[in-house]
Structure formats: structure tokens, C-alpha cells
């Protein structure tokens, strides 16, 4: 035991002395100590700066909030806004300017009428518009996006052309902010960005734009047909949603053409749109498209048929009752039930009780509800 210990001690001593000289060890200790000290110093300075920033923000908040509230509640819009001298100094601080802009935006989102108009005036009077325009010119995407958002919230409609150019920006955030701003300023006319946008419009952005459009009186959309032929499939999908929401029956034929589009999401949206604007003739077209469709679209077509198919379509639906997939069977039965084909279901159940008797019973119960 002692022999082994001695062997290890001597081996370790030999290799330690061979590789690590006293000078090297001293240098190592010095390096490690200086790194540790640097880290401590860096953390101290970082926390100090953070605290200073917080204190400055807090002072700005205490000073500005009440003043802003007083100014925006001013009922005489002709009155000149007087900026107290202490604020002139505060507003030289970019942090204070941004804080004030952010707060004006928060209030602008909450209030309309005189208060909204006062907020806009204050934003311009304090020169914040220049800040936003500077951001708009920035090459940093998030700064540019922030600039667009500020100009849009503060109704700086004269920037429409400059912002319009950004509706097809390669950066997604810049692009979506620009599209939102254009709709905010121009309502339905703002949809002209659909002519130029080559990047995908996300599902979320489509929802946002539709919600935004609800604030405007519906207008004619003469370019809808053109958008339905766009090279950008997400433009077609969005246009189909516009057709659906604003009941554009006049271009039903064009919507039906979308059922033949090579991209599956376009075809699915076309089915959903036809569900809202289609008629019996659409049922024929859907049935023709049915066999080439994927599973999800087949289900959508059967649901659409429940709305506008008629007894001439019974044979197709009866054939689908024999489909090997239970979900398709049920949707076909549902469609039959919805268009007055319960008798056909009963006949099928009489010939083949398993599973059609149960399906017929289920559909009848649904119809009673």
C-alpha cells in the first residue's frame, strides 16, 4: 500500500516539475486573478449602469406622466402647448424621448376623440415625428419597424408612399408593420400592397389585416381577381378570405378556378370560400375536384356539399358512404342528412345495418338538435 503511494507521489512530482515551472505557475495565477478581477469589475459597472438607467427612467416617468396626462386632456385644441423648461432639458435625453413616445402610443391606443387629437399634436410639437422618421431610415430592422409603428399609430399619413415601399421588405417584421400601417392609413385602398408583395403573408398577419379592415366601411376591391391569380400563393389565400368575408359573389368563377391550383392550402381555402359564396353549380365543381384532393380537403368538400348540394348529388354521396374511412363515411352521411337525404340513409341502413343503422341514427339525432 505504502509502496503504491510512494510510486504515485514520485511520478506526479517528476511530471509536475517537468511541465510546470515556478514562472509558469506564477503567470497562471496572475492571469486567473486578473480575469476574475475583470469579471467582477465588469459586473459592477454593468449593474451600476443598469441602476443608473433605471433611476433616470424612474425620474423621467415621475416628471412626465402627469404632465402628459394634463396636456392630452386639454379641451381647447387651439391652445399652444407650453413645454416647462425642466422638460426641455429632459427631452434632450434620448431615453426620455423614447419613454414619452412609448407612453403617447399607449394612450393613443386607448383613447379616441379630442384626447387622440391632443396626443398627435403633442407628438408633433415635441419633435418626436423627426425621431420616428430617423428610425424609418435606419438600416437596423427592428429600429425601422419601430419607426413605422410610431408613424402609423400617430396617424402620420403623409409617409404612406415611403412606408408602402417597405410592404415587401425582406425582413418580416418590417414588412408586417408596413402592411399594417398602410391599412391603418388607407383602409381598403391600402390593400394595393398585395400587387407587389412577393414574400409570404403569414396566417397571423392575414388575421390581423382582416381585423383591421373591420374598422373601415367595405369598399369595392377591383383588383380581387388579379390577386386571385397572384404568383404568391399567400396573396391568393388572403384574397380568397376577402372574397369570403366581404361576400364577393361576382367573382365566384375565379374562386372555382382556385380549386385547381397546384398548392394544397390554396385549394383548401378555395373550398372554404365556396362554402360561403357557392351555390349548386359549385357543388358540381367540388365533386369533380374531389378525387384528386387530399384527405383534409375531401372532408372540407363534403362539409361544403352539406350546404349547397341537392338531390342530384345523392349518388356521389351514397358512393362515399362506402368509403373505407369512417370519418369520410360520417361526413358523407352528414351531407346527405343536411340536404334531405335521410331516406337514402335509411335505405342503406336497411340493406347493410352494420354500420349504417348507427350512422343514420346519429345523423337524425344531429338534425333534431
Amino acid at each position: 500500500m505504502n509502496g503504491t503511494l510512494l510510486y504515485f507521489q514520485s511520478t506526479f512530482k517528476t511530471s509536475f516539475e517537468e511541465y510546470i515551472t515556478p514562472e509558469l505557475l506564477l503567470n497562471g495565477v496572475l492571469l486567473f486573478t486578473s480575469i476574475t478581477l475583470s469579471l467582477v469589475l465588469f459586473t459592477y459597472i454593468y449593474l451600476g449602469l443598469k441602476k443608473k438607467k433605471f433611476l433616470v427612467k424612474d425620474r423621467i416617468r415621475k416628471n412626465l406622466e402627469l404632465w402628459i396626462s394634463h396636456v392630452i386632456l386639454e379641451e381647447d385644441d387651439e391652445e399652444v402647448i407650453r413645454i416647462p423648461s425642466k422638460f426641455i432639458k429632459i427631452f434632450r435625453n434620448p431615453l426620455a424621448r423614447q419613454y414619452a413616445i412609448d407612453n403617447l402610443i399607449i394612450n393613443k391606443k386607448a383613447f379616441s376623440g379630442m384626447v387622440a387629437s391632443n396626443i398627435r399634436n403633442l407628438y408633433q410639437h415635441l419633435g418626436f415625428r423627426k425621431d420616428s422618421l430617423r428610425k424609418l431610415k435606419s438600416r437596423t430592422w427592428y429600429v425601422q419597424a419601430k419607426g413605422i409603428q410610431e408613424l402609423s399609430m400617430m396617424d402620420q399619413n403623409d409617409q404612406l408612399i415611403r412606408v408602402y415601399r417597405l410592404t415587401n421588405s425582406k425582413n418580416e417584421l418590417v414588412r408586417t408593420e408596413a402592411q399594417t400601417a398602410i391599412i391603418q392609413w388607407a383602409g381598403f385602398n391600402g390593400l394595393r400592397f398585395l400587387d407587389v408583395v412577393s414574400y409570404a403573408i403569414s396566417e397571423w398577419q392575414q388575421v390581423q389585416l382582416l381585423v383591421q379592415l373591420k374598422n373601415f366601411t367595405p369598399q369595392d376591391m377591383p383588383k380581387l381577381e388579379r390577386w386571385l391569380s397572384s404568383k404568391n400563393s399567400t396573396v391568393i389565400i388572403f384574397a380568397l378570405k376577402l372574397v369570403e368575408v366581404y361576400q364577393q359573389f361576382g367573382i365566384r368563377r375565379k374562386v372555382e378556378e382556385c380549386l385547381l391550383h397546384q398548392k394544397e392550402p390554396v385549394r383548401r381555402q378555395a373550398i372554404n370560400t365556396l362554402l360561403k359564396i357557392g351555390d349548386e353549380t359549385s357543388a358540381e365543381i367540388l365533386i369533380r375536384a374531389y378525387n384528386d384532393e387530399d384527405y383534409a380537403n375531401k372532408i372540407s368538400i363534403l362539409r361544403a356539399l352539406a350546404v349547397f348540394a341537392n338531390e342530384t348529388h345523392f349518388p356521389f354521396l351514397v358512393a362515399e358512404l362506402s368509403n373505407s374511412d369512417d370519418h369520410i363515411k360520417l361526413e358523407a352521411a352528414r351531407a346527405l342528412g343536411a340536404i334531405g337525404g335521410v331516406g337514402v340513409l335509411d335505405q342503406k341502413a336497411a340493406v347493410q345495418p352494420e354500420p349504417y343503422a348507427l350512422i343514420a341514427k346519429h345523423i337524425k339525432a344531429e338534425l333534431l338538435l
Binding site: S69, H70, I72, A110, F111, V115
Partner: protein
């Protein structure tokens, strides 16, 4: 008339508070639902104006608790909502809310609604 406002955005809260004070109302400002519930209990306001989305306790929860409490169930409630909260507003009405305003709203509109509710309360 004593009005309690629950709104988590300090600047919006302050603007509404200032406006109502200018009109001569006594105002109790609360920054979240929990704060509101405690002050409703201690201050016994004549009207509650509440935002829907608030930290710690939502506006809906505040209405539910107010309307369940025998001491506060008759206090009228105005809900402040935002776009896309239509279903929640419906739920607020089912819980007993009396009126609602969708942001962005005009402060004069809010004043009209308050006066209308004050008149109705007097009639009752």
C-alpha cells in the same frame, strides 16, 4: 359620486382619473384586479370601471366576485375592452356588467355612460 377604476396601464389610468376628477367625481384608482377587489370592499364605490385584461385578477373575475357579494352586487360596472374581445364582453354581460366601451374610446363617451348609469341608479 365615488368611481373605482381598475386599469393596469398607469398612464391610461392616470388620464381617466384626471378627467373624472375634473368632472367632480371622487376617484379610486387601482392597478390590478386584486387591488380593485380590496378597494371595492373598503371604499364602497358607486360605480366600477374595469379593464378586462389585468394582472393577478382579470376584470371578469372582479365582476364575478363583485356580483356574488351581497354588499357589492348592486354596484354598476362598465367594462373597458379591446378589439377582438367580443366574446369576453359577452361573458362580462352574463356576469352582470352594465355597459362596455371598446378601446380606443372617447373620454366624453365615457362621461356620457357614467351620467346615464348615475341617472339609472338614482331612479332605482
Amino acid at each position: 359620486m365615488k368611481i373605482l377604476i381598475a386599469e393596469d396601464e398607469p398612464l391610461i389610468l392616470q388620464t381617466i382619473e384626471l378627467k373624472l376628477k375634473k368632472e367632480g367625481y371622487e376617484v379610486i384608482a387601482c392597478v390590478d384586479g386584486l387591488d380593485a377587489l380590496q378597494k371595492i370592499d373598503s371604499e364602497k364605490p358607486d360605480l366600477i370601471i374595469t379593464d378586462i385584461m389585468m394582472p393577478y385578477m382579470s376584470g371578469l373575475e372582479v365582476i364575478r366576485k363583485v356580483k356574488q357579494d351581497i354588499h357589492s352586487k348592486n354596484i354598476p360596472v362598465i367594462v373597458l375592452s379591446t378589439m377582438g374581445q367580443e366574446n369576453i364582453v359577452e361573458e362580462a354581460f352574463e356576469l352582470g356588467a352594465d355597459d362596455y366601451l371598446k378601446k380606443p374610446f372617447s373620454l366624453s363617451e365615457l362621461s356620457i355612460r357614467i351620467k346615464k348609469i348615475a341617472r339609472q341608479s338614482k331612479l332605482q
